[in-house]
Symmetry: C2
Subunit: 429 residues, 2 copies
């Protein structure tokens, strides 16, 4: 399995690669926070435990439209023992706080949300009382607290309401607003620099003939956005140690994490690993180069000025695969979520067989998940690694252990690319 | 099942309710489009079929670092018949287009991405050739086209590359950029007005004592954002036909769809249905009021000035449930996705039993999905409908048919609230 092809290039297992990245990052990268307006925090990562400062609700109120009653008054009510209560008035939500009181055999109409008068301990719904002029007739007893929203029923003072690390969803914002939390601490979005390498590349829409559009940088940039971080597109470096050096230095000044695309294989002009090794200085430089996965064999990792640099290969299939394998756990760690990808896992039935990978090489297989007949199915996307359309047709990937073959119909765990893929998990469109 | 409690209030089945909304919307609501920059289109809904104007790639190039060869030269190569080729030069990606030619028994070094010289029909990887001074020694034959990225291999001219209705993901943007599509047509985000009803309500962070914070509007507003639409928060209407009328008129001027929260139950001061009926005019007004679901029984739907108005109940559990049931299909239709919720469905093992709902009433049960031991599990969230924390703890819901009981351990299909919940589907954190 350890395949030394070039100075410094040696395949290590994915697990070992991840272990080394985690170690390097945790001794170098602090987790940063910032304070934002709660109502603008949708999708951010909560960086504090939210503890309630008060009871929610802060008073008892009617959960239904009905009549506030004392359950003792009607505890013997039945078809043959109809009990009559006198309606002493009406209460509506804006009447809170109220001094209203009911005495024996009295009731008050309470609209849903209205405060409960003193002396009452339950609400009889409109449907279960027969109104006759200024009285109601009751035929069934009721238990105390029925149809009342009780003080602290939602949240009690000092309750831990939302734990740190929550991706903030609409319902969390509702709760935070109810708890009077105008601002909250969230993880600062890590800034991730993206450097593309290769003189054959051009930025898009320039009309440059005979060049290849630098689309990988846009894919990686948008993946960075999807995963709660901020891309810093540094542009295209020429195939020279000088230019790559200059771009990496710029990146270390502007970003927390650096990602390079291409220029890290075993070709004559693949200068990225040498540049990182040279820039690294003592205890830094290349941490590893070469991972026993396909796609992604020539990926690697280093440290420059204490900042993690992940080298992604240039074929788009490999670029994306290694983003998920190596960069995403690093982003998540930086967001306070721990060093893991945290991707959703969906059990799928394989539509087609999968042949075993080369010995010792773990397979990262893009798949298209779809839903049919009440189950999720996965179609392997087998086009060459340079084929962008293969990825545009995929919405997740399966990790297949080295040497394992799978038959059509086998069950396979698929990791979904992101929350943007969620329509693919619904009923087939 | 048809339970007439008040003038105009009558429970209909969810299926029937959806049918009526779809019919009303399709005769009144056009689907709108706009043009946006491709690089800013992440997460939008594509409103045109993307057809390629050219082949991608537009020339053959090396897929690996290696040697461009003519496969005929080495078709008889073996351990005992080593074939020697003369290296005539080197080609790199920026050398495209090239006039280079190889003749019989010649080869050229080609870096990954380099153009293929005339006369060559495959690339031998660096690892499979032994270099000896200005020659390479070959011991195995190769098939034509090996390690070459071929013209049109990714996308052929006139191929339908991405179909209309795609939620645009990073890999789609990469492909669009490669296809030189600087702008694309997407669905215009529907504008959805949100009107909260109730004098007991206050906007958040005002320090108003004895009022209830209008948090439901923030939840619904952010759900609208999550589902690719634009919320227009109209504010709080008093419990009067006049004020509700004025707010609905304002909403019809500013939005495509109107959502009201609360004020639609059977209480004395629930004026929303009467207001819509009055405003509706001929052929409009209330289309239905009352759906045989819990939560959400008092929800309803109407048309005012040709615009759909969905009435959501005021208990937050019901507000959110009916947003998913009634509003989301309407939003998706307006986005060109068809009148469906399109939510991801995950098969879960129930952690606790579920008792049957009241006869004739379909249950919308919030659940918390988590993953353990390689399977997704669902915990029913059973707190009262007014309990916000119950929703903040949930990340999806199950639809349980009327009268059906389920045991712990039973399998249940859960609809996930949105792509923001995707971490819940990964390995338990």
């Amino acid at each position: 399995m350890n395949d030394r092809r070039k100075h410094g290039f040696k395949l290590i297992r994915l697990e070992e690669a991840l272990h080394r990245i985690e170690q390097a990052a945790s001794s170098n990268q602090p987790i940063l926070e910032e304070t934002v307006d709660t109502v603008k925090s949708l999708g951010r990562v909560l960086a504090e435990d939210i503890v309630s400062g008060f009871n929610l609700p802060d008073h008892n109120f009617a959960a239904m439209d009905g009549y506030a009653i004392n359950t003792k008054d009607i505890q013997k009510a039945s078809d043959s023992n109809q009990i009559r209560l006198v309606v002493k008035g009406e209460l509506y939500p804006p009447d809170h706080p109220t001094d209203a009181v009911i005495k024996n055999s009295e009731t008050m109409y309470v609209a849903c949300g209205a405060p409960i008068p003193k002396g009452a301990d339950a609400v009889l719904t409109v449907e279960s009382a027969r109104q006759e002029e200024a009285t109601i007739v009751v035929q069934t007893p009721l238990k105390p607290n029925r149809n009342i929203c009780l003080i602290g029923e939602d949240v009690k003072e000092q309750d831990l309401v939302i734990p740190k690390g929550r991706i903030i969803r609409p319902q969390d914002i509702g709760l935070l607003v109810a708890l009077n939390r105008e601002t909250i601490k969230v993880a600062r979005k890590p800034r991730v620099a993206v450097i593309s390498v290769g003189e054959e590349l051009t930025e898009p829409f320039r009309g440059t003939p005979n060049k290849i559009v630098n689309n990988n940088a846009y894919i990686i940039g948008d993946l960075i956005k999807v995963f709660n971080a901020e891309p810093v597109l540094i542009g295209i470096a020429k195939d020279s140690i000088e230019d790559i050096t200059q771009k990496i230095i710029t990146a270390t000044q502007q970003a927390d994490i650096i990602v390079t695309i291409a220029g890290c294989s075993v070709g004559v002009k693949d200068f990225v690993p040498d540049t990182i090794e040279k820039l690294g200085g003592e205890g830094h430089g290349i941490v590893f180069h070469g991972v026993a996965v396909s796609a992604g064999k020539v990926s690697g990792f280093g440290l420059v000025q204490g900042k993690p640099v992940v080298m992604l290969p240039g074929h788009v299939g490999s670029t994306v695969a290694t983003f998920y394998l190596l960069v995403l756990p690093l982003l998540n760690r930086q967001l306070g979520l721990g060093f893991k990808d945290h991707l959703p896992i969906v059990k799928c039935v394989l539509d087609e067989p999968i042949r075993p990978s080369k010995p010792g090489i773990e397979l990262v297989l893009p798949v298209k998940i779809y839903r049919r007949g009440g189950e999720h199915r996965a179609v392997p996307m087998r086009k060459p690694l340079s084929v962008l359309k293969n990825l545009a047709d995929a919405n997740g990937f399966a990790m297949i252990q080295a040497g394992v073959a799978l038959d059509a119909g086998a069950s396979v765990d698929v990791k979904v690319y992101s929350g943007l893929e969620f329509y693919a998990l619904g009923e087939s469109r």
